[in-house]
Symmetry: C2
Subunit: 465 residues, 2 copies
């Protein structure tokens, strides 16, 4: 082929191409218009939202033109010319047009618009649309931003296990992983499933969080972060839940909750800023076509704001005094619902807000117990339009307290001996947080459904592709 | 804490610290030596292999000294002084020493050396050792190198699904993923497992490769790559196999096998070069303590060599003519064994070699069929000391040929209608390859066992931590 010879449309339109004659472009036809004396083909090669306009000055001499449809893959050789007064500053005059692959007329991505619902059913073709081309490039750039942020600050990227015998959140939402033939599950004498015969000689599932292992590595390396897939076997068919999603989990030794919150704020602002500066094309698209509000302006405002900070107890007070009817009644001890979170961040503070020190009973066993014995050093970061976007905590680094918490939660201590060891041998205060990558993509782009920010969403009843 | 105040040992030793007085260091004690008039504590904080030497000039005044053991976590405040004629150019004179966390004497990481086998059993503590601190930092840096290489070349990072209903390699080595209670598997009228009642209403497993989905995205975006976990439920207890490992899978539209091989060679050389230039401390450590050969010199040689290239058929000829007894006899049609691969790359060529055009029968259904109908456009890249390190191919882009291949392999075409659609609508030649991240880490470092290049290895019988 001409893999190394071809010029990408993104480079051509940004005038990053050295030669302007004998230029080869490879891509897919978006539209074709043919008249007697001139023909136009818009070509897209996936490198940018924009198409390259290919001009054919002598259409009679190009027999191939009649076989070209929307979706046809083409090789075009020609020269580049600057044009004035049009959105695209460069076009190509074709000298050679060659069909690489035909596209029959039953191709579903014709010019007409499709609903997002329909496009989900053809997830193998939707990356060829404007919206999902933009989203895929955006996702890639923002992934890189995550790595850049942490690598430039001396954090170590770690790969925590996907298959695990732990249940970090204790929520019982683990998918089971097994090598058993499901029609012939071996049983013990007591007629229980005999996991000792399974691949790992143990009951295993898909991780819901890499945090426990991240703590292992933070208490050796200092600053670490995960960025990998996590799973929830939760039967919720909402616009915000997927069974498989990517999570970012930094974990920092020698770091308390106040410092943790500083990192959270810095990280979020870095991502927003990166989107605005490095993803200008994508942000302009979202702003115009996807988001209901003015995303760019709103992100700028947040970058320039200081996040508010209150305790859970104070948050409950505010909500009780609010002149508003909530579906879920507010009482100290409840888990805040999205409606409460949104009231706080949108109506009361009108900016992001960190809520700290939640009741111990609604949070995980590993969070550091406060002196009041009723609350823990947890933090949720709430943002307008979404509610919770980051959850974190200072971890319980005191051996005796942690054992007590785990016993209260009925956990098997032997199974977590390694986790307790971190508190036995040179324990240190440490903190971390978790950020759902899809959630942040939805937030920045204004995309409303998690199924539209990940290429092949896994939701109840859906593992196609 | 002093998270933002503290200086990292790596910065101190590299003299990247602005102030030299009132410096705070947080870390773990590696050794302590106390005499009447002076005491020395070596502190490591995970930021580098090297320790910071803390000097206490008036040990009598530091009562805390007697409680400090190997493994104790400390906060030390003091001033920095340059020292001459020693490996470390900077040391700290302590003014304040504070114990953060005790370390009892049953701590297993005392000064003595432990075998790698033993350290695997305490995988939660081994990142605190020199070797595994180095390996973790190396892994992080090399992960970043992977992203840098592709991002700088306009590739899009994509997240392909982990839970899947496909079996890309057709090897039947999928772990099953289910939400069923294994003691109560629902059956159909025909007494078969009723997968329609499972979470995804289908039989699902853990992906062995993201390639098929990568093809979807390459034929929309052009150049893409995956970097994520993949799985094999293969009961092989070798030094080279893990049930869970990270794989890098680039996929490129408009790219044939020759061009694919160029990208492979460029990518490998980039990684080797990155290791030498950006991971000097780690490479020096591997060279001295881990590798049996001279890794640095050997990598430099490979960077400066041109990889050899032969067909499988030619390789078989060479092997047949070789003056060497192989355990597995060589015959056209066999899958090359590691002994054959190593003979080719180590003895015959004495450099990396690309072997192309393998028999169709031993390769996957999606590889492009050659005109001889017997071989496919596959490539394996073999390197000295290891054998195969990269496997790739040009993909079959012709609809009719692909259908024929799939039918021959007895695959359910309906299940792969979406994969076939890529060939129906604007098909393009495309190619890609897969690189096991652990394999490349082993190769560069000289580490012999895959269990020692990943923090929490998953192997038969082992899902602890």
């Amino acid at each position: 082929m001409d893999y190394f010879i071809r010029e990408k449309v993104s480079d051509i339109l940004a005038k990053r191409v050295k030669e302007t004659s004998d230029v080869t472009v490879l891509g897919w036809v978006r539209t074709k218009r043919v008249s007697k004396n001139i023909a136009f083909i818009e070509i897209n090669d996936g490198s940018t939202l924009k198409n390259l306009q290919v001009v054919i000055l002598n259409p009679d001499e190009f027999e191939v033109l009649s076989e070209i449809n929307t979706g046809t893959s083409l090789k075009v050789v020609g020269y580049l010319e600057e044009v004035e007064g049009r959105e695209q500053s460069v076009e190509m005059k074709a000298e050679k047009v060659e069909i690489i692959g035909d596209c029959p007329s039953d191709y579903e991505l014709q010019k007409k618009r499709h609903s997002f619902e329909y496009l989900r059913e053809i997830a193998h073709l939707r990356p060829r649309t404007n919206t999902f081309g933009v989203m895929n490039r955006f996702r890639s750039k923002m992934s890189y931003a995550v790595h850049k942020f942490f690598q430039e600050r001396g954090f170590n990227y770690i790969h925590t296990p996907i298959i695990t015998a732990n249940d970090t959140e204790g929520a019982g939402e683990l998918f089971r992983v097994t090598n058993f033939d499901l029609s012939k599950i071996p049983l013990t004498d007591k007629s229980e499933v005999d996991f000792s015969q399974d691949f790992f000689n143990d009951e295993t599932g898909l991780t819901v969080s890499g945090q426990l292992e991240a703590e292992v590595l933070a208490t050796a390396l200092g600053d670490v972060y995960t960025f990998g897939p996590t799973f929830r076997a939760e039967n919720s068919n909402t616009t915000r839940h997927a069974a498989e999603f990517w999570m970012i989990e930094p974990e920092m030794a020698f770091c308390d909750l106040e410092e943790n919150m500083q990192v959270i704020e810095e990280f979020l602002k870095y991502l927003f800023n990166y989107a605005l500066e490095e993803c200008a094309e994508e942000m302009a698209f979202f702003d115009r076509w996807i988001a209901e509000d003015n995303r760019i302006e709103n992100l700028k405002e947040i970058i320039n704001s200081d996040f508010a900070q209150i305790t859970y107890t104070k948050a409950v007070e505010i909500l009780k005094e609010a002149d508003k009817e909530f579906d879920y009644e507010v009482e100290w001890g409840i888990d805040l619902q999205t409606e409460h979170e949104r009231y706080l961040t949108e109506e009361h503070f009108n900016k992001p807000v960190m809520v700290t020190d939640y009741p111990r009973d609604i949070k995980a066993f590993y969070m550091r117990l406060n002196d009041d014995k009723k609350t823990v050093r947890a933090v949720d970061c709430l943002v307008p339009g979404v509610g919770e976007i980051v959850g974190g905590s200072q971890r319980e680094e005191r051996y005796d307290v942690l054992v007590e918490m785990m016993e209260e939660d009925g956990m098997e201590l032997e199974k977590y001996d390694w986790f307790l060891d971190l508190r036995k041998y040179g324990t240190v205060p440490h903190s971390g947080f978790g950020l759902g990558f899809e959630r942040i993509l939805m937030y920045i782009s204004g995309m409303k459904n998690i199924r539209d920010v990940i290429s092949f969403p896994r939701t109840p009843g859906n593992a196609k592709f």
